[in-house]
């Protein structure tokens, strides 16, 4: 009975980790290939809000329910608070620093 439960937890944590890995890979591809700075912020947000928390939730399920799970939840909250702050300051500082956004001309 306990063996079946453990394998179910393993499958759930692997599913979380694989989906998070997909989001992190697509976000890194977007950071490498997007044409402008202000469009590169968008895949950075995909990495910070989908990729990393999904992988960390998968790791927390894999560790089982102990004190480490609490630490990983603290780490997820830290990431979800600090990364949007850094991105906001980054885009505001790019606007003040006279970086022109890429705007398509009206025909």
């Amino acid at each position: 009975m306990s063996n079946i439960l453990e394998s179910i937890f393993n499958i759930i944590s692997l599913a979380f980790m694989i989906s998070g890995t997909f989001f992190m890979l697509s976000g890194a591809l977007g950071i490498l290939r997007m044409p402008d700075f202000f469009t590169r912020i968008h895949p950075s947000g995909v990495i910070d809000s989908f990729g990393a928390p999904l992988i960390l939730i998968g790791a927390a399920i894999h560790y089982g329910f102990s004190f480490v799970t609490l630490k990983i939840i603290l780490l997820i909250l830290l990431l979800l608070i600090t990364n949007p702050t850094a991105t906001h300051v980054l885009s505001q500082s790019a606007l003040i620093g006279k970086l022109k956004p890429l705007i398509r001309d009206k025909k």
């Binding site: 980790m17 890979l25 976000g27 890194a28 950071i31 990495i47 990729g51 992988i55 850094a86 620093g97």
Partner: protein, 85 residues
Amino acid sequence: MLAIIITVILVSMGMVLLRAVMGPSIFDRILGMNSLTTHVIVFIILLGLWSGSEFFVDIAIIYGLISFVTSIAFLMYFKYRPQDE
């Protein structure tokens, strides 16, 4: 399966590092480094899963705090300064 996930994370870390190296402006470089720190946090957690030790989580928390302070400090330095290049 965990080895494949770690390999994919390493590949995406290389792509973000390439953007940080060849970014046209200084803000692209800071964005690339800020995203690289998120990759490194996830990589430390996966390394802890792979080696079976629980103490990698504390290192990841400390790394996250230091990376946030570093990013904010660089941006406050470059905020009121016209763009070079």
